[in-house]
Amino acid sequence: MSATLPVSQTTPDTALPAARRDILPLLLVPALALAVLPFISLPTWVTLTVAGLAMGMMIFIMASGLTLVFGLMSVLNFGHGAFVSVGAFSATMVLLPMRGWLEADSLPANLGVLGLAVLVAMLVTAVLGWAFERVVIMPVYGQHLKQILVTMGGMIVSEQLINVIWGADQIALPLPASLRGAIFLGDAAIEKYRLLAVVVGLAVFAAMFLTLNRTRIGLLIRAGVENGEMVEALGYRVRRLFVGVFAAGSALAGLGGVMWGLYKETLVASMGSEIMVMVFIVVIIGGLGSIEGCFIGALLMALLHNYAGFLAPKLNLVSNIVLMIAILMWRPAGLYSKGKL
């Protein structure tokens, strides 16, 4: 007989309390906006803030696909920018022939054409994404080094192909007539297009959030991020999920590309790769695999970019890096890490 410690007869039935939602990162956005308020006149502050929000939303849309794909498949697509460029250029296939409708000063007409252009762009990029995943990425699953190299190669080739198909010159893309100019809130000028960008961005975020949290597919994705093997053992074909998410991420990049192209009012083949650095920074800041982190990160970066551009232009060059370093020192895996550091 061995001496045993008295064992409690009752089953331990207490779990840790349900984790409080980690809203600290979310508070950073208003905190930043309010922190600079004393230094800027109110009307300018409004203009800058809307500009920052708009830019942030567009970058979020472009980055969301990348972070989701990485979280789910551990695939980092260095060629993500290609979908941005292709999306923008594909949109011209609708926007240029229908220029007449865009010149009409009617919001419904303009939005209708834009909507169609976005649809076309997203379709093209979704198909391209599907093909890219099958042909370029699938052979190098799990080999991160080769993934980086191959996807970079893919981006180079895509950019060059854009030049072959659409020519090597820039394409001008003027804003639709009813979205030009600004509305005035007191003394503050708010550009109409930027308002649209904010609305679209919020809609995309809401749609993603709802999908991930309220639908079976969203459940699958969240579970797949944690343990793809177990999801398979539950009877789901994870490969199809991967491809679907990849295509969706590419389509989002395409949408971002169209919006960004209109924002800049010119298209060049390299626009995707130019924006990629900011997208990467946002993804790093947000935490690989986190949509919420990506959203907050994009807003923070864009707001900081706009405020710094006004307050300290010379500093603006490094504002992105400074932000990245600051966030990483606070949370080394990004704002919301899924533990995949």
């Binding site: 331990p12 309390p17 789901y236």
Partner: protein
Amino acid sequence: MPEPILTLSGVHTHIGQYHILQGVDLVVPRGGLTVLLGRNGAGKTTTLRTIMGLWKASHGSILFDGRDITRMSTPDIARAGIAYVPESMAVFSELTVRENLYLAARSGPLDGARVDWICGFFPALKKFWHYPAGNLSGGQKQMVAIARAIVEPRKLLLVDEPTKGLAPAIVQSLMMAFRELKDTSTTILLVEQNFNFVKSLGDSVGVMDDGRINHSGAMRDLAHDEALQQRLLGLSLDSHQ
């Protein structure tokens, strides 16, 4: 005698350069609980994973309910009616208990009556229904993992060392749960090292060593034969807690 639900014939599995399963012949009778015993490293987990298709057999065949599942993909094997409870439990920490079960219920919404039945022997599930599964204790996670496997009726359950590292009181709950499951039409293939746990539960038993089955037969016979136990498992019934 009814057809066995699962038959492994001469199954070999290689992992990289390691030859883990070296010709496994296993027959799992329909209904009831079959136990797979063996020391660490004998190949028990590999056997379950091979059945589930997570690792592919290099030779041999696996027949399930009349179908050859040797080359099938894991999702298809799951859909054929096999549920898997891995050693690591693999509950999705970010998902709530409810969401974990919902995911496992492939054909649609959760069957309320069935869920109530499960919560009968796992009361903790009801209590932490909306909690992220990652916040639960080890024993509670095990309950979630098993509940996930039975939230819809399955033909065969593969369970890998469910009592490992759990407090005796929780082990009691699991014992109760398995007894209730045995009354249903589900067949259970249980891998365990805790002989005490399985001696009263198991109907048939297979003992593995070095990637092969050394002994198979009725649990009753093994439980009464101490000399056999010594030889196969290197222990006697009383000394192992």
